[in-house]
């Protein structure tokens, strides 16, 4: 579903944020992307979803290059950033309807999806309020709903559990499993190693823009805990 080949991104001044990173996310994968602050996770994620240009390498979604066919790739993808700044001047329902219009989701399907996920995250009653009145967690829930209503084949999340209450975090994990069972793929960054260890079937560890290790969770951690492996790798 997602193939990153020799991805390199430098910022002005020549600093390499990510250097020659390659990894593959298959259909049905829940792929965790872990690393320090400033390791290059968000840079990689932003390039994957087509909002950041990069110097070299290739990123393909469902066999299509994000550079050559950005719209086709974006139609298959949903992205939730680490800090979901949404349109404060819209109400929650207006925002979801806007996303529905952009993805041309048929009306009955749209209404059913919005109702299903809004009920699940318990924010139906708040959908008529302006987003500016929402808490961080409510914005996060709304962003997640907007990502799910168009049934993406690839869900890309940057620190998705930050700001979510325990129940909502549990719901998100359940939904991630459901999506993968239906053939979608998930690629997400996290700092919470316990979550990555329990939730993911594959993991990549990045440090200073370079990929240190990637593969199935068993391959990456062996007999040790993910925390021990991670600390060992980044202290090297």
């Amino acid at each position: 579903m997602l193939e990153i080949k020799h991805f390199t991104k430098s910022y002005k001044g020549g600093t390499k944020a990510v250097d020659d990173l390659s990894l593959t996310v298959e259909d049905g994968d829940i792929y965790g992307f872990i690393g320090h602050n400033g390791a290059g996770k968000t840079t990689t994620i932003k390039a994957v979803v087509g909002i950041l240009e990069f110097d070299s390498g290739e990123i393909e979604i469902d066999g299509m290059s994000i550079r050559e066919k950005p719209l086709e790739c974006k139609r298959l993808t949903a992205y939730i950033p680490d800090n979901p700044d949404l349109y404060d001047n819209m109400t929650g329902i207006q925002f979801l309807n806007f996303i529905g219009d952009i993805f041309a989701i048929p009306k009955p399907e749209r209404e059913a999806s919005v109702k299903k996920y809004a009920d699940l995250f318990e924010i139906t009653a708040n959908l008529g309020d302006l987003i500016s009145s929402y808490s961080h967690g409510m914005k996060q829930k709304l962003a997640i709903i907007s990502a799910l209503i168009h049934k993406p084949k690839l869900l890309v999340l940057d620190e998705p559990f930050v700001g979510l209450d325990p129940k909502a975090a549990h719901t998100v994990k359940q939904l991630m499993h459901e999506m993968c069972e239906n053939g979608s793929a998930i690629f997400f960054s996290t700092h919470v190693l316990e979550v990555a260890e329990k939730l993911c079937n594959k993991i990549a560890i990045i440090k200073g823009g370079r990929l240190l290790r990637a593969g199935s969770i068993e391959e990456v951690k062996g007999d040790e805990s993910l925390e021990d492996v991670f600390l060992e790798l980044i202290d090297e």
Binding site: K12, G13, V49, G50, I51, E53, P70, L71, E72, K74, R75, T77, Y79, P81, N83, D85, L86, Y87, D88, N89, M90, T91, G92, I93, Q94, N97, F98, I99, G100, D101, I102, F103, A104, P106, K107, R110, E111, V114, K115, A118, T124, A125, N126, L127, G128, D129, L130, S132, S133
Partner: protein, 530 residues
Amino acid sequence: MNNLGLLLKAYMRTSFGFNKARYTHEKRTKSTGMTVLMVFCYAVVIFAVFGICMGLMSSLAPLHTEYMVLNLMMVAASVMVLFTTIYKVNGTLFGFRDYDLQMSLPIRTGTLIASRILVLYILNALFVLAVMVPAGVAYAIIAQPAALFYPFFILTFLAIPLLPIIIATVIGTLIAVAASRVKRKSGLSVVLTVAAFMVFMIVWMTFWTNSGDIMLDFADVGDMVNGVVTSVYPLAALYGNAVGSYDVLSLLLFLLISFGAFAVFTAVVAKLFKRLNTSITTTRAAGDYKMTELRTQSPKKALYQRELKRYFSSSQYVLNTAVGPLLLVVVAIILLVSGVDGLGTYADIPGFDYFLTVNAPLAIAFFLALGSTTAVSVSLEGKNLWIVRSLPVDTRLVLKAKLNVSLVLYIPTIAVCGTLFNLALSPQPLHAVMTYALPLAYGLFIALFGLKANLDSPNFDWTNEVTVIKQSKPTLLTLLVGVVLVAVPAIFAAMAGSFVIVIAFAAVTALDILLYRSLMTKGAAQFERF
């Protein structure tokens, strides 16, 4: 450095892009360009005021009443401070974005308030400086006052912004508090702000229609103008006595009223600071939504609706860009109701009727050039930029939606005001057509050029949208280019006749085509690189 100094430093760093210019190497050239442009505009205002003051004072010199021009300029500066501060209060003194952060720091609330009031004062003092210093220099040259004038002038100068700031803060706060009490607070804020502006403009236009008399023969009407000015703003009489006649009592009263009122104002603000901030920033959430039928529309229309919602969500955005069309409507109505005579003694100038008829299309275009919605539309994406960048939408549709907001503002204005102008002036058929066609071409140009300017110099890291709307390079550049593009053919039309209007129409239409093509290719690519 004490806490007050630290807070002021933080404000300067975050609000004017100095920090960005210092630490972001690639932005240095752009920020230098912005500084040059702002200094240029500031210098133009100073020289213009100086020229006007020299002219008016010269006509008063035989009567030794040049001080009346200082009075007039003092009132003009006060009105300017009043008007601009109303829209700065919410966002500077109340409801500013880093309120939570600053209030959580171990800093006395009084210090925080002082820093915010000082910011308002400094910003306004710069306005007053641009008006009063050239006026003072002109006075020193023409009237050659005694040495006592200079300390009196400097002391009063420092006090000029105080009372207008107080009045503006009261009005601005009332608008913000009233707006915060309803669900659609941005909507009410837009309505109240525009209403306040319209009241101000109608008063101003009434004065303007009589200003022909003042310009033509200020010596004869100087006393009358001074009488009006001092009756409208009593502080002006004290000011005139202080700087014109070196009356110590007037000086002391002027300073006492200004600084005394300011001290009371500061004490009241200190008492209400937390309560007002809470009231203004608290958002109303009903939490009673029930799922209803959803209305679907095309992506193109959805993007356009998104732009419209953004536009009407900000009273500053609406006011700054609707100022031209609103003024135009007022002028067009005056013209239709009173005919050319309604424009006061300008109508008595020989050939003015013909001049106005020839230049009517350019006059309409001039008002459109006073504000561009597109010049800030890219920057206003701000932290939300990721949404439209990650969605599967053609970037050209995003840019077209931004252009459409401008056109929705311009086209009805041109249709209505063009008709009013044509009814009032009864021009030749070709000219009647040009009264619609030329402003349309100019309106399109302003929209296209504004968008290009913003794509060239975007700022997504703002903390207060006013810095983008009022103080950004694209806004100033679009205003400057638009006004020059109107002024050049206006000069030629006055000399060479009406065919210049047709040539201007053809030239601007050609520019529109070139700009549109460039935006749909290079502009779209620029947007995709942000």
